[in-house]
Amino acid sequence: MSSAPILEVRGLKVEYESDRGPVWAVDGVDLDVQPGEFVGVVGESGCGKSTMLFAIAQLLSPPAFITAGSVRFMGQNLVTMTNKSLNALRWRDFSVVMQSAMNALNPVKSIGAQFQDAIDAHDEHVARERPAEVLQLVGIDPIHLKSYPHQLSGGMRQRAMIAMALLFTPDLIVMDEPTSALDVVAQRQLMVQIKQLQKQLGFAIIFVTHDMSLVSHFSDQLLVMYAGQVVEVGATRKVFDSPAHPYSRGLLDAFPSINGPKVHLTGIPGAPPDLAHPPAGCRFNPRCPEVFADCYVIEPELYQVESAKARCLLHVQGERPLQRAAGSEAR
């Protein structure tokens, strides 16, 4: 896992123009994705996770703009690339699976015709059997190449979308909540299948979701986003076992478990901040259960906490004395 990363995002900033002034939906995100890695990105609605994904894939449209930072994919900076050269990369080297795969398929074209569209657009010499092959990969009978989207169930449509993303065996697939419209059993099937395909074909995945429990067993690296910033990043197991940021802890405690004792849960009270006017200091301070005086003044950076990093003043090393130190680590 220490070879050159396939994707390197540095200081990425995305701004939405609005009547109330600029809204920084993504504010300085760094991200490394190794070949074949599964990266989970979690956070509430409006934390900027989908915007970040669109920025990586260069799919933003006005009023959203990338204002700073770079996205280096296999050595090339996507941000400064022309549309034409981007089109050559898209789908062939990295592909995107959208959230509403239910609606992302063209209802008046058969699945096979839509596969052919993609192949034609890329001028690729793809074996004629390839569409049937990728459908089989995701567990759909190739007979459905002749089917129209309405003839498939929700889970099958999602898998057909993933099959399309696999057409040219890309190195990176970016997924924006691909399972959110499915029920638990179908969701579980799809996750296991994605993971198996990844093992088999070796592509890397960036998987965005608001359901932290969903990626718990599947991702290698976990990114927790809040108010446009990464607040915690580390190995998935590490973040789940000992979350360093109070927000990650809140997300983890937000859903009930089917095992263990029944406990009263509170979720995370309050709502994410208005990104046009984020709170001074730490952006999580209005909702944080462990807030102290410094949080309103000092903007935290990502501090090293064992093998992970967290954007929380509780984890400042050394020199500056904390006003409230003892017991703050207690869960």
Partner: protein, 349 residues
């Protein structure tokens, strides 16, 4: 609103023994839909022979995957659909006998519905106060006009929206998804309901605010004495709020019982499948665990036999010919499976 009528018929559902006559009961509730063109004779069996009981001040979760018929049941109870056969008894009275406008209104106000999508179920052109005040005007004749506003504030307080007077003046677009769904509950609460039909009320919301809504349901149950039919595909949230759990598959009730009993000791293979699909970060897991590849069955003109047989790991010959009926297998715990074994201490009846 006293209920002195006792239920005439006995029932096979084990849950009645708990607390006298139920608030609402369905017997052999069935709903079929015609599918295909005008000349088609195909029927889709959305709900078949469902016997469900909801007691006073009880939260009953109805779980199952998409297409299992759980929303159809909610709509049957809300009288959006008429049953193909079977009957719904509300406080001992058959719904098909409720005909006059006054009685119909009174049933509607007793059993309101909360919808899945808080973004499309509120009229964007009106302030929050509009929906609540209309409900009060129509269904709460006991409240004089002058006190309606105070009552509207009270219901908003009850669902945790403060300051109520400020929220009442807002438009839906000024509210977050969680707040909007609370408005949905407040509107239902304004009717002074006995039973709220909540059709996937939290599935469109962020995980971090779902729990708040579930807590609202639990509070309304204890403070306002409301029962809930909580429809969901998320078993973990059902465990969090529900007293009793009913699992549906392909239009059939396949298992029902006290929530903990069903979860700790699931009898039906489908319930076991549902449980294994719940992502739980606290549990260790190997990714290679066999994933069930099955698709939900087609329930168009089904033949007799267990509808889960195509996906069932325990299938036996009998499953292909005989539709299993709900059998009592534990204390107030029943499952519709030929193979499931009863709890040792309770002899099968």
């Amino acid at each position: 609103m006293t209920d002195t009528t006792t239920n005439p018929a006995t029932t096979s559902d084990p849950s009645t023994s708990a607390s006298g006559s139920p608030l609402l009961e369905t017997r052999g509730l069935t709903r079929h839909f015609k599918v295909g063109g005008n000349l088609s004779r195909k029927t889709l069996h959305a709900v078949d022979d469902a016997n469900i009981i909801i007691n006073r001040q009880e939260i009953v979760a109805l779980a199952g995957e998409s297409g299992s018929g759980k929303s159809t049941i909610a709509r049957l109870l809300a009288r959006v659909y008429k049953p193909t056969s079977g009957e719904i008894y509300y406080q001992g009275r058959a719904l098909s006998n409720i005909k006059g406008r006054r009685d119909q209104l009174s049933y509607r106000s007793d059993v309101p519905m909360v919808f899945q999508d808080p973004f499309s179920s509120l009229n964007p052109a009106f302030r929050v106060s509009h929906g609540i005040m209309r409900g009060l005007k129509l269904h709460r004749k006991d409240i004089p006009r002058a006190s309606r506003y105070a009552e509207a504030e009270r219901v908003l307080d009850a669902v945790g929206l403060t300051p109520a007077s400020d929220i009442l003046q807002r438009y839906p677009y000024e509210l977050s998804g969680g707040q909007r769904q609370r408005i949905g509950f407040a509107q239902a609460l304004a009717y002074k309901p006995k039973l709220i039909l909540a059709d996937e009320p939290v599935s469109m919301l962020d995980v971090s605010i779902r729990i708040g809504l579930l807590n609202v349901m639990a509070d309304l149950r204890s403070n306002e004495g409301v029962s809930f039919l909580y429809i969901t595909h998320d078993i973990a949230s059902a465990r969090y709020v529900a007293d009793r759990l009913i699992v549906m598959y392909a239009g059939h009730v396949v298992e029902s019982g006290p929530t903990e009993a069903v979860l700790q000791n699931a009898k039906h293979p489908y319930t076991q499948l549902l449980l294994s699909a719940v992502p739980d970060p606290r549990a260790p897991l190997d990714v290679d665990a066999d994933a069930d590849k099955g698709e939900p069955p087609r329930v168009i003109d089904p033949t007799p036999g267990c509808r889960f047989r195509w996906r069932c790991p325990l299938v036996v010959e009998e499953c292909h010919h005989v539709t299993p009926a709900l059998r009592v297998l534990g204390e107030r715990h029943a499952a519709a499976c030929h193979v499931a074994q009863p709890d040792p201490e309770i002899p099968a009846r």
